[in-house]
């Protein structure tokens, strides 16, 4: 590949990295997994003056699961780490279900979870999963740390809420009330293709009732779609055929798909509806195990 000329720094600490970003005055880009950035450099769609490679910063590759069930994922955790984590399989079924559907195995060995969320691709899997889970991103800048809720983090296609001199250092999924259940389904034309439509479902179930229902969509709008409001028909009762159908229809209506070569807007809505229904039915059928 023959990208445009760029500078390169490999800082050893977050503070040093923030220094380079500040000095870059908006012309520096963070390099983590590079699975979206490097292709853009190759095609010269992106031509930053400097790359700040954070891979040498120690202590950013953790997956911490708290006693309360909250989960913290560091900025250098690779997709593959999520996919291979035995703890996450039980602690966070939505993440576990999505992990092996992200891109392809080669990308998963290198690409990072937090980097993918920051990329804010409307078709990105992790932004949808994090939105359904009601998570937030911890960012650090010259003035210290702040938290940004997922719903405020993704501003639009490929736009996030980071200032030019801030780094997203971890993703946080709050502690569940009761049992976390959920799943992730994605229709793609081929492994590694962008989603035609994806559905992330993250429920909390307590005493047989749904106490929290998070649903988010990818590929069916100009940004990650937060369909949690549409999913509220599920809350306060057990899953039933009626509530599943109502939720599937409400979520499909919340999608904002466009007709393109992956399918018509109606088709994409149909996929959303089908996937919501399939995930919820799957949960309902196994509910005795999680109640």
């Amino acid at each position: 590949m023959y990208p445009s000329r760029f500078g390169y720094e490999a800082p050893k600490s977050i503070e040093e990295a923030i220094g380079y970003l500040t000095a870059g005055a908006g012309e520096a880009k963070i390099l983590a997994g590079g699975q979206s950035l490097v292709p853009m450099l190759k095609l010269r769609f992106a031509a930053p003056e400097m790359l700040v490679d954070i891979n040498s910063i120690p202590g950013l590759d953790y997956i911490n699961i708290g006693a309360d069930g909250s989960i913290r994922i560091g900025a250098l955790v690779r997709h593959e780490d999520i996919e291979r984590s035995e703890e996450l399989k039980t602690a966070q079924p939505t993440l576990a279900a999505a992990a092996h559907l992200v891109a392809d195995p080669i990308v998963r060995t290198r690409g990072t979870f937090v980097g993918s969320v920051c990329h804010a691709d409307p078709q990105g899997d992790w932004a949808a999963a994090m939105t359904a889970l009601g998570g937030h991103i911890v960012v650090q800048g010259p003035k210290g740390k702040r938290e940004i809720a997922m719903k405020d983090f993704v501003l639009g296609p490929f736009q996030n809420a980071l200032a030019f001199n801030e780094i997203a250092i971890e993703a946080v999924i709050p502690a569940p009330q009761g049992t976390p259940v959920g799943s992730y389904l994605k229709l793609e034309r081929r492994v590694g293709d962008f989603a035609t439509a994806s559905v992330a479902v993250a429920l909390n179930i307590q005493g047989g009732n749904v106490v929290r229902a998070g649903i988010a969509l990818a590929g069916v709008g100009g940004r990650t779609i937060d369909a949690t409001e549409a999913a509220s028909v599920l809350v306060g009762k057990p899953l039933s055929e009626d509530s599943i159908l109502a939720a599937a229809e409400a979520v499909a209506a919340a999608a904002e798909p466009r007709t393109d070569h992956r399918g018509s807007s109606d088709y994409k809505r149909q996929i959303v509806k089908t996937f919501v229904s399939r995930i919820l039915t799957g949960i309902a059928n196994s509910e005795q195990k999680v109640a």
Binding site: Y2, S4, L187, R190, V191, D260, H261, S264, T274
Partner: protein, 793 residues
């Protein structure tokens, strides 16, 4: 005492591929691996517009980039009479655009610099002013009277039509249709596809002013054709041109044509007097080089009630892009489309074909298709399925009824081809048995009651592989024979060179096996070399599954010449007359005394040390082979699929392939060819296509948009074998490289159509993406043409 043929790696041995040892260790030698002293790097600036007049090109800023050695434009090429070059179909193609650009990705300028980064940076500094012209992206727009004339550079080209061509018996066909019980009609589009070899095209041109010799290392499947073309274009004598194709990272037909990049790099080397390397990037390869298909069909079958086909009528309209650069035998304007229905006993047929220029990339035919046989057989098998469904006849029975029977060979097809061998019904029966056809109908009905949609699709076909004979087949007037040259060293080891060009077929492995079979020299003792025009004998290269039918036959024939001379030497060594000598694998012996013999290695040593009086020393020879006919392999492919009615996603539950390619030299290599071909067949049926929006932007310019299936999507394939030796080939072999790509797609489409039969849907054009299958299922209507590429709502 004869050698064990399998042990020495002869015919029938699944010998490990010799090539793989270096490939899997990263020790291959591709064009981009070659580094010459003082070498410069070239980058091509391509047009972002599909159709536009060039008002001005300003290259001054590019010249100012440090490290830039040369900037070339069409004007500079024109000053040397190199702005245009001939294509392989007697048309012309722009090398660098002078007047206007005619497709997106067309070559506009080139920068030659000290390294590829500089070349690319400088390319971005070239300012081209375009004036947009109306864009034509399909042949139906091209044929409108008011459409913009694309080829205004040509004399006597008042419209966008390239050719009208027809073959067959119009009158007889009309009569057959008039007398038919039923006429079954089908309209189809075979979408544009790109071969997309992993290695893109590239060249290193090295002109030496002192010797006057031009050496070009390049990615060519047909280096000798390139040498002939370069001699024409560059006006250099042939002996001063050396074309070298090193290892090729795949070709699939994409590396047959001559591309502008090669020509520009040659001129750049002549002007700079330094080696100039050009390596195309993936997007450049996908948007500007040889594609396949893009043909529309109107097909009709005249049928008797019971399913007997009485006549075939076909009309094709094809999209060739901005230049008619198809690589195909000169006589046949739409390739071997008229090989269609060759497996069936059809009394009469008529084909009309019209080709058009459009504002799309040139270079049709390429993609593992043996000159449009892919379209011919796809159309055939889709029409047969539609006829069976229209008449309510079993899809296996209609094929069985119409097959050319085993006893009917040689058989003259309605379009004039001569098929010579096959056991079609046997292949079909094996396939049906393997897929469980006898119980499938019940299974399908039972599944439908539970909301599951199952379908079986059959595709049976014979195809013409291995052009020529030289009477009918030529490219640019050069006859399509091929060659081999064998030199046996005194130790009995040997080097073999042929005019073919390996690009993944395994020639290094299998050619040595033919030598082993003919001479008893272990395959491991035979070096195989191809691709260097200074050392290899003249040949037409590798494409159209012609290597084994033509060059492979030459290998057998030259081996036999060597054996004939060795026999004389053996008689001398054994002190008997030649008539008393017998041959068994690897050894001559005295007929009356089997113990008394000499090995082929003994004869080789004697050829350099102990010759009979008057015999010319050495043990080497060559052979040029002009095949008496094409070879006609047969294939039966059957797919069993299930459609998810809520999403339109279809899965292949089972796939059975029965191939009869005659005698198999290396069964493992043959199976690899079939597996690869079926993967490509699955690809085209499900996802792999190239399309254009109405502004002529190529959708499919990178691997995010141009989808190649991975191991995850690709179904498993069950392979079965039938062997009907080719009656005219010296070792009984037939071509195999393209069978699966040619015959495979219809099996997948027919299977999905079978699953949808109850809805009344008769056709979904490829690719059968889930959204298209879902739409057909919902509406009960056919889905035709390319998928839409613009946002609607």
């Amino acid at each position: 005492m004869a050698l064990d043929e399998i042990k020495i790696g002869g015919m029938g041995a699944s010998r490990r591929r010799v090539e793989d040892n270096r490939f899997i260790r990263g020790k291959g030698n591709y064009v981009d691996d070659i580094v010459l002293p003082g070498m410069l790097h070239m980058e091509i600036l391509r047009s972002p517009m599909a159709h536009a007049r060039i008002k001005s090109i300003d290259v001054s800023a590019a010249w100012e980039v440090p490290g830039v050695r040369l900037v070339l434009t069409g004007e500079m090429m024109a000053a040397r009479n190199l702005a245009w070059m001939p294509t392989l179909s007697y048309d012309t193609q722009a090398v660098l655009a002078t007047d206007k650009v005619r497709f997106q990705g067309q070559e506009v300028a080139a920068v030659i610099a000290d390294d590829p980064y500089i070349a690319k940076d400088a390319c971005q500094k070239i300012v081209v002013e375009y004036e947009a012209l109306p864009v034509i992206v399909n042949p139906f727009q091209a044929m409108e009277a008011s459409s913009e004339l694309i080829r205004d550079d040509k004399e006597n080209q008042p419209t966008n039509k390239i050719f009208d061509w027809e073959i067959g018996d119009k009158e007889g066909t009309d009569k057959a249709f008039a007398a038919a019980d039923h006429v079954s009609k089908l309209e189809l589009h075979y979408p544009r596809s790109h071969p997309s070899p992993m290695e893109t095209c590239g060249s290193i041109a090295d002109f030496n002013r002192a010797t006057g010799k031009l050496t070009v290392y390049m990615t060519s499947q047909a280096p000798h054709i390139v040498r002939a073309a370069v001699a024409m274009v560059a006006e250099l004598p042939e002996h001063m041109i050396r074309i070298v194709s090193p290892d090729l990272g795949g070709g699939f037909g994409n590396k047959v044509p001559i591309y502008p990049g090669y020509v520009i790099s040659i001129l750049a080397s002549i002007l700079t007097e330094r080696p100039v390397k050009w390596i195309e990037d993936k997007t450049g390869n996908l948007i500007s080089t040889g594609f396949g298909r893009d043909v529309y069909l109107k097909g009709e079958l005249a049928l008797r009630k019971d399913g007997k086909i009485l006549g075939v009528r076909m009309n094709t309209i094809s999209d060739h892009g901005a230049f008619y650069a198809d690589a195909q035998p000169s006589k046949f304007k739409i390739g071997l489309m008229h090989s269609t229905f060759a497996a069936y006993d059809i009394p009469v047929a008529h084909l009309t074909s019209t080709g058009y220029y459009t504002n799309k990339a040139p270079g049709g035919v390429a993609y593992r298709c043996s000159f449009r046989v892919t379209e011919a057989m796809f159309f055939q098998e889709r029409m047969v399925q539609a006829a069976a469904d229209d008449l309510g006849i079993d899809q296996a029975e209609i094929r069985r009824m119409n097959f050319v029977k085993d006893d009917d060979f040689p058989h003259r097809t309605a379009f004039g081809f001569l098929t010579d061998s096959g056991q079609y019904e046997k292949c079909l029966n094996i396939g049906l048995e393997a897929i469980g056809y006898s119980t499938f109908k019940a299974e399908q009905e039972e599944a439908r009651k539970r909301g599951r949609l199952l379908g079986i699709g059959i595709s049976t076909m014979t195809e013409p592989l291995g052009a020529g004979n030289s009477k009918e087949y030529d490219i640019l007037g050069i006859k399509m024979f091929d060659s081999a040259e064998l030199r046996v060293h005194m130790s009995g080891k040997a080097i073999l060179r042929t005019g073919a060009m390996n690009q993944g077929q395994g020639h290094q492995t299998t050619w040595a096996q033919i030598v082993a079979h003919e001479l008893g020299i272990p395959a491991d003792d035979v070096t195989v070399e191809e691709g260097d025009t200074d050392t290899a004998p003249f040949g037409m290269g590798t494409y159209a599954s012609r290597s084994t039918p033509v060059a492979g036959a030459a290998v057998a024939m030259v081996s036999r010449k060597i054996r004939a001379k060795a026999r004389k030497i053996a008689a001398h060594l054994l002190e008997v007359s030649e008539e008393d000598i017998e041959w068994e694998l690897g050894r001559f012996y005295v007929r009356s005394n089997h113990e008394r013999g000499v090995t082929i290695q003994d004869c080789a040593m004697a050829a350099y040390s102990n010759l009979p009086d008057g015999m010319e020393p050495g043990l080497e020879n060559n052979a040029y082979y002009d095949p008496p006919n094409l070879t006609w392999p047969f294939a039966c492919y059957i797919a069993k699929v299930e459609i998810d009615p809520e999403t339109g996603v279809w899965d292949v539950l089972q796939f059975v392939a029965v191939d009869d390619c005659g005698v198999r030299i290396n069964p493992m290599v043959v199976e690899g060819q079939i597996m690869g071909g079926l993967t490509e067949a699955y690809a085209m049926s499900s996802m792999q296509y190239q399309t254009y929006d109405e502004e002529g932007n190529c959708i499919g310019s990178n691997y995010m948009d141009y989808l190649l299936p991975t191991a995850w999507e690709t179904p498993g394939f069950e392979l079965y074998e039938v062997v009907t030796p080719c009656p005219h080939h010296p070792i009984g072999a037939k071509g195999i490289g393209e069978c699966a790509t040619v015959g495979g797609p219809a099996a997948f489409v027919n299977a999905v159509m079978d699953a949808l039969k109850h809805t009344g849907v008769r056709n979904i054009d490829m690719p059968m993406m889930p959204n298209r299958v879902y739409e057909a299922l919902q509406t009960g209507k056919d889905i035709s043409g390319m998928p839409p590429v613009r946002s609607g709502d």
